[in-house]
């Protein structure tokens, strides 16, 4: 399983490095979203700082949809998905590999968007460990759910519109918990308020990673 996941993650990241879709489209999309949110909130610095955590996670969520759609679409050209099935790769390894590749892209995105939040919204971080923990756990959850629902929509003609519809409601706990943890970790927040939300993210990740490992194979066969 681990060997297969490394192989698949390496393949997806290599494709990403070649096509540069993540760097040239997904990350800029995230930055544009942050800037537009800033315009929408107006010049009120206090309001922007207050809204920064939620806006950060909303931007991450939208970018996750793009990253997952890209991850699915590379397998839809020239029968590549059938090629993966035919290779006899362990479905759990395939799920973990594709999730890891999406997660790696999200980490880069979150670093850029995090810097954007600090610069654009004037947010200052007082509990970096909370911010980092929320990003790590949130990324795992988003990548796992995104990959799972990406596989569900993979064989459908309407996957571009169906994926956000399926994924965004499911990812709402990550948005909620991530926002609360960031509020606790930014200036004016109370770090101890972040702990319960961190636990929620741990549970969310455990559920969806386990679910993905179990059901990714059957989903892939029926998609």
């Amino acid at each position: 399983m681990w060997r297969d996941s490394l192989l698949v993650a390496g393949k997806d990241l290599r494709i990403e490095a070649r096509s540069r879709v993540g760097l040239s489209q997904v990350v800029p999309f995230g930055i544009v979203a942050l800037v537009l949110f800033a315009f929408a909130l107006g010049p009120d610095r206090a309001l922007m700082t207050k809204g920064a955590p939620g806006l950060f996670w909303v931007a991450v969520l939208f970018c996750t949809v793009l990253a997952v759609q890209r991850s699915v679409s590379v397998e839809s050209v020239d029968g590549a998905r059938d090629g993966l099935r035919l290779s006899g790769l362990d479905p759990a390894g395939l799920f973990l590999g594709k999730s890891a590749a999406v997660a790696a892209q999200l980490v880069v995105l979150e670093v850029v968007l995090g810097a954007g939040v600090v610069l654009l919204y004037g947010a200052s971080i007082t509990a970096p460990w909370l911010i980092v923990s929320s990003c790590v756990l949130g990324t795992i959850g988003l990548a796992a759910t995104g990959t799972l629902y990406g596989a569900l929509s993979a064989g459908l003609r309407v996957r571009e519109t169906l994926l956000p519809f399926l994924f965004l409601p499911i990812a709402a706990p990550v948005l909620l918990a991530g926002t609360r943890i960031w509020q606790a970790g930014l200036a004016g927040g109370t770090p101890s308020y972040g702990s319960p939300w961190l636990r929620l993210l741990v549970v969310f990740d455990a559920v969806y990673v386990a679910l993905g490992i179990v059901v990714f194979g059957p989903i892939q066969e029926s998609a």
């Binding site: 192989l7 393949k11 494709i15 035919l86 290779s87 006899g88």
Partner: protein, 268 residues
């Protein structure tokens, strides 16, 4: 002394029915392919040749009937079957953003095969020099086909399922393919070839089966062995598998809801 016979046929299908939604792909196929045999599957467009190969590869589950491939259930033990089967289909299964070498290497490693043969396989299919470092998006259809064949050559699985293998290849590549199929046969590999181009393929196969309307409707033994066959002795049930159904198959219609059966309906 002759080598002991393998304990099971490479492919065994009995009354195999496969559906795509409500549409029948296979309508009760009986086929047995012995290990080491090369079999041609012929038939008109839409007859079920590709579906037959996909069932053997474990890509399409059976709605009813029985399938055993290399002694394994191609659905329940699909990963074990797939690692031992090579399917050359209409698609090349290449990633446009990877180079030829990266594509071949990934496919071979993913199937768990040894990577030692990759260089030799690529060379055999003319994938050398700068072409190896070219991204798949820049390849012609014939070059993509060669890359897919290089994967098969490097993997060297036990059962080859070749769907229109000569399509898109130039004369020299067709010759290479014919040689390769001959070598595979000599190496004890089972080869099932679905093709319209009988002129190319008849000389490679031990026998032919005809698929029509999702069923085997004819069988004929081909006279000479791989590399030397020039003509065929026609006749029903010339092969080793069970006798074909006497029931005429003219066309099929999708099974309607409430039919009370998962069998395929036949319309005479």
């Amino acid at each position: 002394m002759a080598p002991p016979a393998p304990p099971h046929p490479a492919v065994f299908l009995h009354d195999a029915v496969a559906l795509s939604g409500r549409f029948p792909l296979l309508a009760g196929v009986d086929l047995e392919v012995a290990a080491g045999e090369t079999v041609l599957v012929e038939g008109p467009n839409g007859a079920g040749k590709t579906s037959l190969l996909r069932v053997c590869a474990g890509l399409v589950p059976l709605a009813s009937g029985e399938a055993v491939v290399l002694g394994l259930d191609p659905v329940r033990q699909r990963n074990r079957v797939r690692r031992r089967v090579g399917l050359l289909s209409h698609a090349s299964h290449l990633y446009d953003d990877l180079t030829v070498k990266e594509n071949v290497r990934f496919a071979v490693r993913a199937s768990g095969a040894d990577t030692d043969r990759i260089g030799e396989a690529c060379e055999r299919w003319g994938l050398t020099g700068r072409l190896l470092k070219t991204s798949a998006s820049k390849l012609s259809a014939g070059q993509r086909r060669r890359a897919a064949l290089a994967v098969l050559t490097a993997r060297w699985p036990e059962l080859w399922l070749l769907d229109e293998p000569h399509a898109g290849l130039d004369a020299s590549a067709r010759e290479t393919l014919d040689q390769l199929i001959g070598e595979a046969g000599a190496d004890g590999i089972t080869v099932v070839i679905a093709s319209h181009e009988l002129g190319f393929v008849e000389s490679l196969a031990d026998r032919a089966v005809t698929v029509t309307g999702g069923r085997i409707t004819g069988r004929r033994a081909l006279v000479a062995g791989p590399g030397g066959r020039t003509d065929a002795a026609t006749g029903l049930n010339g092969g080793a598998e069970p006798a074909p159904t006497e029931e005429p198959v003219d066309r099929l219609r999708p099974v309607g809801p409430g039919d009370g059966t998962d069998e395929v309906a036949h319309v005479a």
